[in-house]
Protein backbone atom coordinates (compact mmCIF):
# COMPACT_ATOMS: atom_id res chain seq x y z
CA UNK A 1 0.00 0.00 0.00
CA UNK A 2 1.03 3.61 -0.58
CA UNK A 3 0.70 5.99 2.37
CA UNK A 4 0.77 9.78 2.32
CA UNK A 5 0.25 12.70 4.67
CA UNK A 6 -1.59 15.66 3.26
CA UNK A 7 -3.29 18.89 4.25
CA UNK A 8 -6.84 19.13 2.90
CA UNK A 9 -9.26 21.92 3.76
CA UNK A 10 -6.86 23.12 6.45
CA UNK A 11 -6.50 19.81 8.27
CA UNK A 12 -3.72 17.21 8.21
CA UNK A 13 -4.73 13.70 7.17
CA UNK A 14 -3.13 10.33 6.79
CA UNK A 15 -4.12 9.04 3.38
CA UNK A 16 -3.60 6.12 1.06
CA UNK A 17 -3.61 5.85 -2.70
CA UNK A 18 -6.73 4.38 -4.32
CA UNK A 19 -7.56 4.39 -8.02
CA UNK A 20 -5.47 7.47 -8.76
CA UNK A 21 -6.90 9.48 -5.88
CA UNK A 22 -6.17 10.00 -2.23
CA UNK A 23 -8.35 8.15 0.24
CA UNK A 24 -8.31 10.26 3.39
CA UNK A 25 -8.44 8.74 6.87
CA UNK A 26 -11.99 10.11 7.33
CA UNK A 27 -13.25 8.20 4.28
CA UNK A 28 -13.41 11.07 1.81
CA UNK A 29 -11.38 11.15 -1.39
CA UNK A 30 -9.33 14.00 -2.78
CA UNK A 31 -7.51 14.60 -6.05
CA UNK A 32 -3.72 14.65 -5.98
CA UNK A 33 -3.69 18.34 -6.90
CA UNK A 34 -6.33 19.32 -4.34
CA UNK A 35 -4.06 18.82 -1.34
CA UNK A 36 -0.79 20.06 0.08
CA UNK A 37 1.60 17.14 0.36
CA UNK A 38 3.67 16.68 3.53
CA UNK A 39 6.56 14.26 4.00
CA UNK A 40 4.84 10.83 4.21
CA UNK A 41 6.01 10.25 7.77
CA UNK A 42 4.04 11.20 10.87
CA UNK A 43 5.94 13.18 13.53
CA UNK A 44 7.37 10.90 16.20
CA UNK A 45 5.53 11.15 19.49
CA UNK A 46 5.35 9.48 22.91
CA UNK A 47 7.89 10.63 23.65
CA UNK A 48 8.32 13.40 21.11
CA UNK A 49 11.71 13.02 19.49
CA UNK A 50 13.38 14.09 16.28
CA UNK A 51 13.60 11.58 13.49
CA UNK A 52 17.15 10.46 12.75
CA UNK A 53 17.87 11.16 9.09
CA UNK A 54 21.04 9.46 7.88
CA UNK A 55 22.24 10.14 4.35
CA UNK A 56 24.92 8.58 2.20
CA UNK A 57 27.40 10.36 -0.01
CA UNK A 58 29.23 8.75 -2.92
CA UNK A 59 27.28 5.51 -2.66
CA UNK A 60 27.16 4.80 -6.41
CA UNK A 61 30.43 4.02 -8.14
CA UNK A 62 29.63 6.20 -11.15
CA UNK A 63 28.71 9.22 -9.04
CA UNK A 64 31.89 8.87 -6.98
CA UNK A 65 33.83 8.85 -10.26
CA UNK A 66 31.91 11.85 -11.58
CA UNK A 67 32.91 13.81 -8.52
CA UNK A 68 36.54 12.68 -8.83
CA UNK A 69 36.57 10.63 -5.69
CA UNK A 70 37.61 7.05 -5.44
CA UNK A 71 34.89 4.79 -4.15
CA UNK A 72 34.84 4.93 -0.35
CA UNK A 73 35.99 1.95 1.70
CA UNK A 74 33.31 2.56 4.28
CA UNK A 75 30.07 4.51 3.99
CA UNK A 76 30.35 8.28 3.81
CA UNK A 77 27.52 9.29 6.10
CA UNK A 78 26.06 12.58 7.18
CA UNK A 79 23.04 13.49 9.30
CA UNK A 80 20.23 15.89 8.54
CA UNK A 81 17.77 17.56 10.84
CA UNK A 82 14.13 16.69 10.32
CA UNK A 83 13.44 20.37 9.59
CA UNK A 84 15.14 20.07 6.20
CA UNK A 85 12.36 17.79 4.90
CA UNK A 86 9.45 19.01 2.78
CA UNK A 87 6.73 17.18 0.84
CA UNK A 88 5.85 16.45 -2.79
CA UNK A 89 4.95 19.33 -5.14
CA UNK A 90 6.58 21.97 -2.94
CA UNK A 91 9.05 24.77 -3.62
CA UNK A 92 12.77 24.49 -3.00
CA UNK A 93 14.65 27.73 -2.60
CA UNK A 94 17.79 28.52 -4.61
CA UNK A 95 19.70 31.44 -3.13
CA UNK A 96 20.50 34.28 -5.52
CA UNK A 97 24.02 34.26 -6.91
CA UNK A 98 24.58 30.51 -6.51
CA UNK A 99 26.51 28.82 -9.35
CA UNK A 100 25.71 25.12 -8.94
CA UNK A 101 22.72 23.60 -7.20
CA UNK A 102 21.83 20.03 -8.12
CA UNK A 103 19.21 17.43 -7.25
CA UNK A 104 20.04 13.95 -5.97
CA UNK A 105 17.43 11.25 -6.57
CA UNK A 106 17.68 8.72 -3.73
CA UNK A 107 15.91 5.65 -2.44
CA UNK A 108 14.96 6.40 1.17
CA UNK A 109 14.56 3.53 3.61
CA UNK A 110 12.10 3.94 6.49
CA UNK A 111 12.96 1.92 9.59
CA UNK A 112 10.07 -0.16 10.94
CA UNK A 113 11.43 -1.81 14.08
CA UNK A 114 14.02 -0.92 16.69
CA UNK A 115 17.29 -2.09 15.19
CA UNK A 116 20.40 -2.73 17.28
CA UNK A 117 23.29 -4.89 16.15
CA UNK A 118 21.29 -6.35 13.28
CA UNK A 119 23.01 -8.77 10.90
CA UNK A 120 22.64 -8.06 7.22
CA UNK A 121 20.77 -11.32 6.65
CA UNK A 122 18.02 -10.08 8.99
CA UNK A 123 18.05 -6.47 7.82
CA UNK A 124 14.88 -6.54 5.73
CA UNK A 125 12.86 -7.50 8.83
CA UNK A 126 13.58 -4.03 10.20
CA UNK A 127 12.32 -2.00 7.24
CA UNK A 128 8.80 -0.52 7.17
CA UNK A 129 8.98 0.77 3.63
CA UNK A 130 10.51 3.06 1.09
CA UNK A 131 10.07 6.53 -0.29
CA UNK A 132 11.87 8.86 -2.69
CA UNK A 133 14.10 11.67 -1.50
CA UNK A 134 15.64 14.51 -3.45
CA UNK A 135 18.70 15.47 -1.46
CA UNK A 136 19.60 18.81 -3.06
CA UNK A 137 23.15 20.12 -2.74
CA UNK A 138 24.46 23.63 -3.33
CA UNK A 139 28.07 23.04 -4.22
CA UNK A 140 29.06 26.69 -3.79
CA UNK A 141 28.84 26.13 -0.04
CA UNK A 142 30.96 22.98 0.16
CA UNK A 143 33.78 23.19 2.67
CA UNK A 144 36.26 20.51 3.72
CA UNK A 145 35.07 20.43 7.32
CA UNK A 146 32.74 17.56 8.16
CA UNK A 147 32.11 17.46 4.40
CA UNK A 148 29.40 17.50 3.13
CA UNK A 149 28.75 20.26 5.63
CA UNK A 150 25.31 21.24 6.90
CA UNK A 151 25.21 24.51 4.99
CA UNK A 152 25.19 22.32 1.86
CA UNK A 153 22.97 19.53 3.12
CA UNK A 154 20.68 20.82 5.85
CA UNK A 155 19.04 23.82 4.28
CA UNK A 156 15.36 24.63 4.72
CA UNK A 157 13.28 23.27 1.80
CA UNK A 158 16.24 21.39 0.28
CA UNK A 159 15.17 17.80 1.03
CA UNK A 160 11.84 17.00 -0.64
CA UNK A 161 10.61 13.52 0.24
CA UNK A 162 7.60 11.46 -0.87
CA UNK A 163 4.99 11.43 -2.26
CA UNK A 164 4.40 7.98 -0.81
CA UNK A 165 5.66 5.70 1.90
CA UNK A 166 5.37 2.36 0.10
CA UNK A 167 5.13 -0.73 2.29
CA UNK A 168 8.23 -2.93 2.17
CA UNK A 169 6.05 -5.86 1.09
CA UNK A 170 5.30 -4.02 -2.14
CA UNK A 171 8.99 -3.62 -2.99
CA UNK A 172 10.29 -7.17 -3.16
CA UNK A 173 13.81 -6.22 -4.27
CA UNK A 174 14.91 -2.69 -3.37
CA UNK A 175 18.28 -3.39 -5.02
CA UNK A 176 16.79 -3.69 -8.50
CA UNK A 177 14.87 -0.46 -9.00
CA UNK A 178 15.25 1.91 -11.91
CA UNK A 179 15.84 5.46 -10.83
CA UNK A 180 15.59 8.60 -12.96
CA UNK A 181 15.34 12.36 -12.80
CA UNK A 182 13.81 14.78 -15.26
CA UNK A 183 14.28 18.53 -15.44
CA UNK A 184 11.36 20.20 -17.23
CA UNK A 185 10.52 16.85 -18.77
CA UNK A 186 14.01 16.05 -20.08
CA UNK A 187 15.72 13.00 -18.60
CA UNK A 188 19.00 14.05 -16.98
CA UNK A 189 19.74 11.14 -14.63
CA UNK A 190 19.28 7.41 -15.04
CA UNK A 191 20.50 4.63 -12.80
CA UNK A 192 19.60 1.55 -10.86
CA UNK A 193 19.70 0.80 -7.17
CA UNK A 194 21.63 -2.36 -8.09
CA UNK A 195 24.70 -0.11 -8.47
CA UNK A 196 24.85 0.99 -4.85
CA UNK A 197 28.30 0.45 -3.32
CA UNK A 198 26.85 -0.23 0.13
CA UNK A 199 23.44 -1.85 -0.23
CA UNK A 200 20.49 -1.51 2.12
CA UNK A 201 21.18 -4.64 4.24
CA UNK A 202 24.81 -3.57 4.64
CA UNK A 203 23.74 -0.11 5.77
CA UNK A 204 21.28 -1.46 8.35
CA UNK A 205 24.03 -3.71 9.75
CA UNK A 206 26.61 -0.91 9.67
CA UNK A 207 24.52 1.74 11.41
CA UNK A 208 22.92 -0.58 13.93
CA UNK A 209 26.38 -1.81 14.96
CA UNK A 210 26.95 1.48 16.82
CA UNK A 211 23.64 3.33 16.90
CA UNK A 212 20.14 2.08 17.55
CA UNK A 213 17.73 2.81 14.72
CA UNK A 214 14.12 3.45 15.73
CA UNK A 215 10.83 3.18 13.87
CA UNK A 216 10.42 6.16 11.57
CA UNK A 217 14.14 6.83 11.18
CA UNK A 218 15.34 7.37 7.62
CA UNK A 219 18.31 6.30 5.55
CA UNK A 220 18.85 8.16 2.27
CA UNK A 221 20.97 5.81 0.21
CA UNK A 222 22.80 8.13 -2.19
CA UNK A 223 22.48 9.04 -5.86
CA UNK A 224 24.02 7.81 -9.14
CA UNK A 225 25.69 9.72 -11.94
CA UNK A 226 23.92 12.55 -13.77
CA UNK A 227 23.43 15.59 -11.60
CA UNK A 228 22.88 18.94 -13.32
CA UNK A 229 22.37 22.53 -12.24
CA UNK A 230 18.78 23.52 -11.41
CA UNK A 231 17.58 27.06 -12.11
CA UNK A 232 14.66 29.23 -11.11
CA UNK A 233 11.39 27.79 -12.38
CA UNK A 234 12.77 24.33 -13.16
CA UNK A 235 10.42 21.47 -12.39
CA UNK A 236 12.37 18.49 -11.10
CA UNK A 237 10.88 14.99 -10.92
CA UNK A 238 12.90 12.34 -9.12
CA UNK A 239 11.39 8.92 -9.71
CA UNK A 240 12.07 5.41 -8.46
CA UNK A 241 10.36 2.36 -9.91
CA UNK A 242 7.60 0.98 -7.66
CA UNK A 243 8.15 3.75 -5.09
CA UNK A 244 7.01 6.96 -6.71
CA UNK A 245 7.67 10.17 -8.62
CA UNK A 246 8.52 13.15 -6.43
CA UNK A 247 7.93 16.55 -8.04
CA UNK A 248 9.49 19.77 -6.94
CA UNK A 249 9.93 23.31 -8.28
CA UNK A 250 12.96 25.57 -7.88
CA UNK A 251 12.44 29.18 -6.89
CA UNK A 252 15.26 31.67 -6.71
CA UNK A 253 14.95 34.18 -3.91
Amino acid sequence: MKHARVVFEGRTFDATERDGQLLLADGRTAAFDAVQWLPPLAPLTSPARPRTVLALGLNYADHAKELEFKAPEEPLVFVKGEGALIGHRQITRRPKGVQFMHYECELAVVVGRTARKVKRGDAYDFIAGYTVANDYAIRDYLENWYRPNLRVKNRDTCTPIGPWLVDAADVPDPQALALSTTVNGQVTQRGSTKDMIFDVPFLIEYFSSFMTLSPGDLILTGTPDGVVDCKHGDVIVTEIERVGALMNTIEES
Binding site: L76, G83, W145, Y146
Partner: protein, 204 residues
Amino acid sequence: MSFLPTGTVYGVLLNFRAEFDALAPRMHEPPYKAPPKAPVLYVKTANTWTPSGGAIAVPARAPEVEVGATVGMVFGEAGRVAGYVLMNDLSVPHASFFRPPVKFKCLDGFLGIGPALREGGDPDRFSLEVRIDGELRHAADFSQLVRSAAQLRADVGEFMTLRPGDVLMLGCNAGRPLAKAGQRIEITAPGFEPLVNTLVQEAA
Protein backbone atom coordinates in the same frame (compact mmCIF):
# COMPACT_ATOMS: atom_id res chain seq x y z
CA MET B 1 11.28 14.40 35.42
CA SER B 2 14.59 15.27 33.88
CA PHE B 3 14.89 17.47 30.84
CA LEU B 4 15.18 15.90 27.38
CA PRO B 5 15.05 17.77 24.09
CA THR B 6 12.20 17.23 21.64
CA GLY B 7 13.96 18.55 18.54
CA THR B 8 17.25 18.06 16.73
CA VAL B 9 20.45 18.64 18.70
CA TYR B 10 23.22 20.36 16.74
CA GLY B 11 26.83 20.71 17.81
CA VAL B 12 29.53 23.03 16.50
CA LEU B 13 33.24 22.34 16.02
CA LEU B 14 35.99 24.97 16.37
CA ASN B 15 33.90 27.53 18.22
CA PHE B 16 36.34 28.11 21.09
CA ARG B 17 39.29 30.34 20.21
CA ALA B 18 41.84 28.03 21.82
CA GLU B 19 40.41 25.08 19.89
CA PHE B 20 40.45 27.06 16.63
CA ASP B 21 43.98 28.38 17.22
CA ALA B 22 45.32 24.90 17.96
CA LEU B 23 44.21 23.69 14.54
CA ALA B 24 44.93 26.92 12.65
CA PRO B 25 48.41 25.90 11.43
CA ARG B 26 46.87 22.89 9.62
CA MET B 27 43.82 24.64 8.19
CA HIS B 28 45.42 25.56 4.88
CA GLU B 29 46.79 22.05 4.34
CA PRO B 30 44.95 19.10 2.78
CA PRO B 31 42.35 17.88 3.24
CA TYR B 32 40.95 21.16 4.60
CA LYS B 33 42.82 23.58 2.28
CA ALA B 34 41.13 26.60 3.90
CA PRO B 35 39.79 27.62 7.29
CA PRO B 36 36.05 27.08 7.72
CA LYS B 37 33.75 29.92 6.71
CA ALA B 38 30.34 28.73 7.94
CA PRO B 39 29.86 27.19 11.40
CA VAL B 40 31.07 23.56 11.32
CA LEU B 41 28.00 21.71 12.52
CA TYR B 42 27.09 18.12 13.35
CA VAL B 43 24.03 16.37 14.74
CA LYS B 44 23.69 14.38 17.96
CA THR B 45 20.90 11.98 17.02
CA ALA B 46 18.19 11.01 19.53
CA ASN B 47 19.78 7.60 20.22
CA THR B 48 22.70 9.46 21.86
CA TRP B 49 20.66 11.12 24.56
CA THR B 50 21.30 10.11 28.17
CA PRO B 51 19.55 11.93 31.05
CA SER B 52 21.66 13.26 33.89
CA GLY B 53 22.44 10.48 36.34
CA GLY B 54 22.35 7.85 33.62
CA ALA B 55 25.15 5.44 32.78
CA ILE B 56 26.75 5.69 29.34
CA ALA B 57 28.07 2.50 27.75
CA VAL B 58 31.48 2.73 26.10
CA PRO B 59 32.22 0.17 23.38
CA ALA B 60 35.38 -1.90 23.46
CA ARG B 61 36.67 -0.15 20.31
CA ALA B 62 36.93 3.10 22.30
CA PRO B 63 39.04 2.47 25.40
CA GLU B 64 38.83 6.19 26.16
CA VAL B 65 36.29 8.77 25.09
CA GLU B 66 36.63 12.52 24.76
CA VAL B 67 34.47 14.60 27.08
CA GLY B 68 32.99 17.63 25.32
CA ALA B 69 31.41 19.75 28.03
CA THR B 70 29.22 22.52 26.71
CA VAL B 71 25.97 24.43 26.99
CA GLY B 72 23.05 23.80 24.67
CA MET B 73 20.83 26.70 23.61
CA VAL B 74 17.25 25.40 23.52
CA PHE B 75 14.83 27.01 21.10
CA GLY B 76 11.20 27.88 21.63
CA GLU B 77 8.61 29.39 19.34
CA ALA B 78 9.61 31.74 16.51
CA GLY B 79 13.35 31.24 16.99
CA ARG B 80 13.34 32.58 20.53
CA VAL B 81 15.72 31.03 23.06
CA ALA B 82 13.73 29.10 25.65
CA GLY B 83 16.75 28.44 27.84
CA TYR B 84 20.07 26.68 28.28
CA VAL B 85 21.12 23.24 29.42
CA LEU B 86 24.44 21.58 30.22
CA MET B 87 25.56 18.94 27.76
CA ASN B 88 28.22 16.23 27.89
CA ASP B 89 29.00 15.71 24.21
CA LEU B 90 31.08 12.52 24.11
CA SER B 91 33.15 11.48 21.11
CA VAL B 92 35.36 8.61 20.13
CA PRO B 93 38.62 10.54 19.67
CA HIS B 94 39.27 11.30 16.00
CA ALA B 95 42.10 13.28 14.43
CA SER B 96 40.50 14.23 11.12
CA PHE B 97 37.57 16.60 10.76
CA PHE B 98 37.24 16.14 7.00
CA ARG B 99 34.27 13.74 7.01
CA PRO B 100 31.13 13.94 9.15
CA PRO B 101 31.77 12.30 12.52
CA VAL B 102 28.74 9.99 12.70
CA LYS B 103 30.57 6.87 13.87
CA PHE B 104 32.51 8.94 16.42
CA LYS B 105 29.64 10.99 17.83
CA CYS B 106 26.35 9.18 17.27
CA LEU B 107 26.93 6.12 19.44
CA ASP B 108 24.08 5.15 21.72
CA GLY B 109 24.08 7.25 24.86
CA PHE B 110 26.91 9.59 23.82
CA LEU B 111 25.20 12.83 24.85
CA GLY B 112 24.66 13.48 28.55
CA ILE B 113 21.92 16.06 29.06
CA GLY B 114 21.62 18.36 32.04
CA PRO B 115 18.76 17.71 34.46
CA ALA B 116 16.95 21.01 33.99
CA LEU B 117 16.47 23.86 31.57
CA ARG B 118 17.86 27.14 32.81
CA GLU B 119 15.63 29.97 31.65
CA GLY B 120 17.41 33.21 30.95
CA GLY B 121 21.01 34.12 31.60
CA ASP B 122 23.73 35.71 29.51
CA PRO B 123 25.50 32.99 27.53
CA ASP B 124 28.58 35.20 27.03
CA ARG B 125 29.15 34.97 30.78
CA PHE B 126 28.65 31.24 31.23
CA SER B 127 31.53 29.12 32.46
CA LEU B 128 31.79 25.47 33.38
CA GLU B 129 34.10 22.91 34.98
CA VAL B 130 34.55 19.20 34.40
CA ARG B 131 35.50 16.78 37.13
CA ILE B 132 36.35 13.16 36.48
CA ASP B 133 36.18 11.00 39.60
CA GLY B 134 36.13 14.24 41.56
CA GLU B 135 39.31 15.68 40.06
CA LEU B 136 39.11 19.00 38.19
CA ARG B 137 40.23 18.24 34.64
CA HIS B 138 38.81 20.96 32.39
CA ALA B 139 37.27 24.42 32.35
CA ALA B 140 35.59 26.56 29.73
CA ASP B 141 34.71 30.24 29.71
CA PHE B 142 32.06 31.14 27.15
CA SER B 143 33.41 34.66 26.71
CA GLN B 144 36.10 32.92 24.63
CA LEU B 145 33.90 31.78 21.76
CA VAL B 146 34.77 32.41 18.11
CA ARG B 147 31.07 33.08 17.47
CA SER B 148 29.09 34.25 20.46
CA ALA B 149 25.78 32.48 21.11
CA ALA B 150 23.95 35.31 19.33
CA GLN B 151 26.31 35.27 16.35
CA LEU B 152 26.19 31.49 16.06
CA ARG B 153 22.42 31.55 16.09
CA ALA B 154 22.37 34.19 13.36
CA ASP B 155 24.92 32.43 11.15
CA VAL B 156 23.18 29.06 11.45
CA GLY B 157 19.78 30.68 10.95
CA GLU B 158 20.99 32.06 7.61
CA PHE B 159 20.43 28.62 6.03
CA MET B 160 18.28 26.59 8.43
CA THR B 161 15.44 27.34 10.78
CA LEU B 162 15.97 26.41 14.41
CA ARG B 163 12.59 24.99 15.28
CA PRO B 164 10.86 24.77 18.66
CA GLY B 165 12.63 22.06 20.65
CA ASP B 166 15.84 22.19 18.61
CA VAL B 167 19.10 22.62 20.51
CA LEU B 168 22.26 24.35 19.33
CA MET B 169 25.31 23.57 21.44
CA LEU B 170 27.82 26.40 21.74
CA GLY B 171 31.03 24.40 21.30
CA CYS B 172 33.67 22.71 23.41
CA ASN B 173 36.92 24.21 24.62
CA ALA B 174 40.38 22.92 23.71
CA GLY B 175 42.00 20.38 25.98
CA ARG B 176 38.99 18.12 26.25
CA PRO B 177 39.74 15.41 28.82
CA LEU B 178 39.52 11.69 28.20
CA ALA B 179 37.58 9.29 30.40
CA LYS B 180 37.05 5.55 30.48
CA ALA B 181 34.58 2.98 31.71
CA GLY B 182 34.13 3.10 35.47
CA GLN B 183 34.69 6.85 35.71
CA ARG B 184 32.21 9.46 36.84
CA ILE B 185 31.99 12.70 34.88
CA GLU B 186 30.52 15.76 36.57
CA ILE B 187 29.94 19.03 34.75
CA THR B 188 29.14 22.04 36.91
CA ALA B 189 28.39 25.63 36.01
CA PRO B 190 27.17 28.62 38.02
CA GLY B 191 23.40 28.89 37.64
CA PHE B 192 22.98 25.32 36.35
CA GLU B 193 22.15 22.07 38.09
CA PRO B 194 25.15 19.73 37.72
CA LEU B 195 25.20 17.10 34.99
CA VAL B 196 26.56 13.74 36.11
CA ASN B 197 27.11 10.62 34.04
CA THR B 198 29.07 7.46 34.71
CA LEU B 199 30.80 5.52 31.96
CA VAL B 200 30.35 1.76 31.93
CA GLN B 201 31.78 -0.95 29.70
CA GLU B 202 29.38 -1.97 26.98
CA ALA B 203 28.07 -5.51 27.46
CA ALA B 204 29.71 -7.87 24.98
